[in-house]
Amino acid sequence: MSEEKRSSEFLRYASIVGPGIITALAGVGASGITTCSVVGARFGLSMVWLLVVSAICLGLFQEMSARMGVVTGKGLAGLIRERFGLRPTFFAMVVLLAANLGTTVAEFAGIAASLEIFGINKYFTVPVVALTMWALVVEGSFQRVEKAFMLICLTQVSYFFSAFLSHPDWGMVATSLVKPTVRMESPFLYSGVALVGTTLAPWMQFFVQSNVVDKNIKPLDLKYERADVFSGVFLANVVALSIIICTTFTLHRAGIGVDNVQQAALALKPLAGSYSSILFGIGLFGASVLSANVVPLSTSYSVCEAFGWESGIGKGFSQARLFFGIYSFQLLVSVCIVLLPKVSLVGIILLTQVLNGILLPIILIYMLLIASDERIMGNKKNNVVENTIAYMASMGILLLNVMLFVEGLRAL
């Protein structure tokens, strides 16, 4: 390949890249960071091989969604309505709305927590952050919003640095990645399931597909979009790995167990220096802000798709009133819930997990049926190998979700 061709290929990729990376990194979010820090502090590196498994699952389904978006030019919710009718779509939308609202609340709680690491009052900052993002999304063009999201994604590099600051044993990391370890004890299994569960949520499938459609990526650019999706999945798992490494070689080594990310960040200070703690806070802030916007947008995209209303980040408020209305509504409700004193987020997060757990397998099956339908996908439909792996993966995910649900109930 000539030098010139290579550089034009890269430029093409650079113009397409976005939806995949944003979705995958937003998928980490506050809950992902919490899970990873807790897992690292408690179990060390023994679970990192699970990241490889979840990366394969995530990559498989994200690629499928992105491909469906590129080929059909329609969002997932729209395709489900056209293929399976109103009832299943309506059900899916109600569950998605509730689950995403719960997730958004959790992400805003993440914003509040990250600010409290720096000792900043949440009653001032959470509304300000929400308002700023709202203004950006409602007023900004698609390109501007995407650029802003990509910039926020950059904050995730901080975890990479905090991993280095913890002076890890890289050889150990490499072996743990390929050597599966399973301990047959309840906390270990529960955390393992949670680790996989947090990286794959229904809204991610809806969002990546709608965002690809919104960006108007044409079938000709499918391979670049695939590259985008895979880079996103790779980066998201590197972030997760970095967090686990960081907490393993500091907290786990010192034998400090933590329950949430705030404790983790504060406990890092004496062990790895205040830089590490600050980096942790910045990363958490970025991840939460990103998810707190992407998740409500995913709901807006999907509901509008399902009922056929105009949608799109680049549209004006008057063109896509319901789209921005749904987005604003979720933002408002989430901010209010987070700022209310004495609201237990544990219940909300558990309920969200349950709803996501119910919805995810159903959505995955719908996706598989649509992606293998020649009338819809033409020659870009799933092949047998993809389908086999995907069916196995969705069965596995169904099983994991049932386990997570049962464990969650027992934990209550």
Binding site: K74, G78, R81, E82, G85, L86, R87, F90, C304, A306, F307, G308, W309, E310, S311, Q319
Partner: protein, 602 residues
């Protein structure tokens, strides 16, 4: 009316009473008008195996709620045939408008039995259709009753949609989508006028009642009479009851004499007599244009009683803005606006507050004269009297506006104020002018703060008098807006005010002077009570006086300079320039005068 969603899945039974399968789809072919269902597609199932049969619609013997009975057997279906499969190609599909914007998805398809045929009337896109398909038909009905506009049934007639191509899954609208759900009666009338007679009648049958009446009154007379002849007397007479009597008379006037006579017998006596009277005038005259639904009161009423009277008749009158005062014989003796009534003391008699020389139209005046009179005097309604000066009716602005040509109507729009552009009132909140004022006030405040900061040393000399600064800024701000407000007033509204004079520039200086004195007196009193020091208070008061006066005079000068510019420039730039400079000048004056005085007085 039948719905595709309720029909799908019903059992199909052959001539021997044997169940063939369930109804899977209906097939239509593109044709002019509302297409007929040609064939039905039947799905038979055993275990996981499926077969498809088809049958011609003409072979269907009976359509039941949950059952279709065939007169003959069904044949094996050939799936590759062309045609539109309603469930497959329409249901749940995206509708896009002319520009490709997404509008809504198809929730149901409406069908209607016309003779032996089943025809597709249009696609359902409303909220009740969604509920119906989710299985809550009752709930759908109640939503229809609660909020018919927002959550009610919405249908897009077949004529307005086009299938882009069999392979493309989206459906395109033929008209702009915003117009669709809120088609104004006159728009619907326009569309109906372009259809042929058969289709027009069918489309009209789909309209809900109050809207149908309005649509009918908006049609051109020839089309209206043709359409009305085919309507039942009961429905027509209901329309006549619903419409104001002038519009009812218009409809009756375009009907054949016999039909009109029989109809008028069905209408309530009171309304009927009004309509007959209106019918007797030439449609091109004031009498033909006027309505008899006005508010008239006797001279002896008090303002309080008059307001009560208006309240009682608010629903039956076409306009309540003017109240006409008549003597016992019905002679028009004066007019009152609602504003006059509300402003006067309640026990005052109306004859003491009414305007006696009323602008009127004679009942035989040409309609164009009436319209130009309304426009010339900027009235909302014009009373119509006969040769004996007996009040017969009023011509309201909206009736007259049809008569005035486009140009005149635009003039009226311009006259009625600066917030009207292209005949539409611009949203008040988003008006750039308002936003500009807000921004400017903010900027003015900030600059004032900057000046205060810059005057740090002088400040100390003021002693405690700085507490007067907020009051000073507030007053100068208000005073500086006066001259500008006057310009704006003059621009659009001097005719509207009926020649009421706005003050001359010299008078404005006097006003500003007086205002400054009042404000400074207030400042003196306030600071005297506060500091208990006569000298200090005098210094403060003089400072405030100078500040307010300076800003007011500056504003007058600037507004004279600006007056030659375009209205828009005055509104957008003028406010900022005047406000900013006035605030600066006012604070500088205040600080320097007060400092000088304080030092002088020791």
């Amino acid at each position: 009316m039948l719905y595709l969603s309720t029909m799908l899945g019903s059992s199909v039974i052959d001539a021997e009473g044997k169940r063939i399968g369930r109804l899977a789809d209906l097939v239509v072919r593109e044709e002019k008008g509302f297409p007929r269902v040609q064939e039905i597609l039947i799905e038979a199932r055993r275990g996981f195996k499926r077969w498809y049969f088809s049958a011609s619609w003409l072979d269907i013997w009976e359509v039941d709620r949950k059952r279709l009975v065939l007169a003959s057997g069904a044949s094996k279906a050939r799936m590759e045939r062309n045609g539109i499969f309603l469930a497959r190609d329409l249901l749940d599909r995206q509708i896009v408008d002319l520009d490709g914007y997404k509008v809504v998805r198809v929730s149901d398809v409406r069908l209607m039995e016309v003779g032996r045929d089943l025809r597709v009337m249009g696609v359902d896109v409303g909220f009740p259709a969604i509920l119906r398909r989710l299985g809550f038909s009752r709930l759908a009905q109640s939503f229809q009753n609660i909020a018919p506009g927002f959550l009610g049934e919405k249908m897009i007639p077949w004529d307005f949609i086009s299938l882009i191509s069999p392979t493309e899954s989206d459906i395109q609208l033929r008209i702009e989508h915003r117009r669709l759900h809120q088609l104004h009666p006159s728009d619907i009338a326009d569309i109906l006028e372009q259809l042929d007679e058969e289709k027009r009648a069918k489309m009209f049958a789909l309209l809900e009642d109050p809207k149908a009446a309005e649509v009918l009154s908006e049609m051109v007379p020839q089309v209206r009479s043709a359409l009305a002849e085919n309507l039942t007397d009961a429905r027509l007479s209901k329309f006549l009851e619903m419409l104001p009597s002038d519009e009812a008379a218009d409809i009756l006037g375009s009907l054949p004499r016999e039909k009109a006579k029989s109809l008028i017998g069905l209408v309530k006596a009171e309304k009927a007599s009004r309509i007959t009277e209106l019918l007797s005038y030439d449609p091109q005259s004031a009498g033909g244009l006027m309505t008899t639904e006005y508010v008239a009161i006797p001279k002896s009423m008090t303002a309080q009683q008059a307001i009560e009277y208006i309240r009682e008749h608010v629903s039956s009158a076409e306009t309540i803005y003017y109240v006409y005062v008549v003597d016992p014989e019905g002679h028009l003796s004066g007019v009152l606006s609602l504003r006059d009534l509300l402003r006067s003391s309640p026990e005052k008699a109306v004859q003491d507050i009414m305007i006696r020389d009323v602008i009127v139209a004679n009942i035989f005046d040409d309609q164009e004269d009436v319209a130009s009179k309304l426009s010339r005097y900027n009235l909302i309604a014009l009373p119509v009297v006969d040769d004996d000066y007996v009040l017969k009716g009023i011509v309201t602005f909206d009736d007259a506006i049809d008569v005035i040509n486009q140009e005149a109507s635009e003039d009226v729009g311009e006259l009625s104020g600066v917030f009207i552009e292209g005949g539409k009132i611009k949203s008040m909140f988003l008006n750039p002018t308002r936003a500009a004022v807000l921004v400017v006030s903010m900027a003015g405040g900030l600059i004032a703060t900057a000046i205060l900061g810059g005057l740090g040393n002088n400040f100390a000399a003021l002693g405690s008098l700085f507490v007067l600064i907020p009051a000073l800024l507030r007053s100068s701000h208000d005073v500086s807006f006066w001259p500008l407000a006057k310009r704006i007033h003059e621009m659009g509204e001097d005719e509207y005010l009926g020649g009421r004079k706005t003050p001359k520039e010299s008078m404005e200086v006097v006003y500003v002077f007086l205002a400054s004195i009042i404000v400074s007196l207030g400042a003196f009193l306030g600071s005297y009570l506060w500091f208990d020091s006569l000298l200090l208070s005098i210094a403060g008061a003089i400072g405030v006086f100078c500040g307010v006066l300076a800003s007011g005079i500056l504003a007058i000068i600037l507004s004279i300079l600006l007056a030659r510019m375009k209205p828009r420039v005055i509104l957008r730039a003028g406010t900022s320039v005047i406000n900013l400079s006035a605030l600066c000048v006012s604070i500088l004056c205040f600080v320097f005068v007060t400092r000088f005085l304080v030092q002088l007085l020791g």
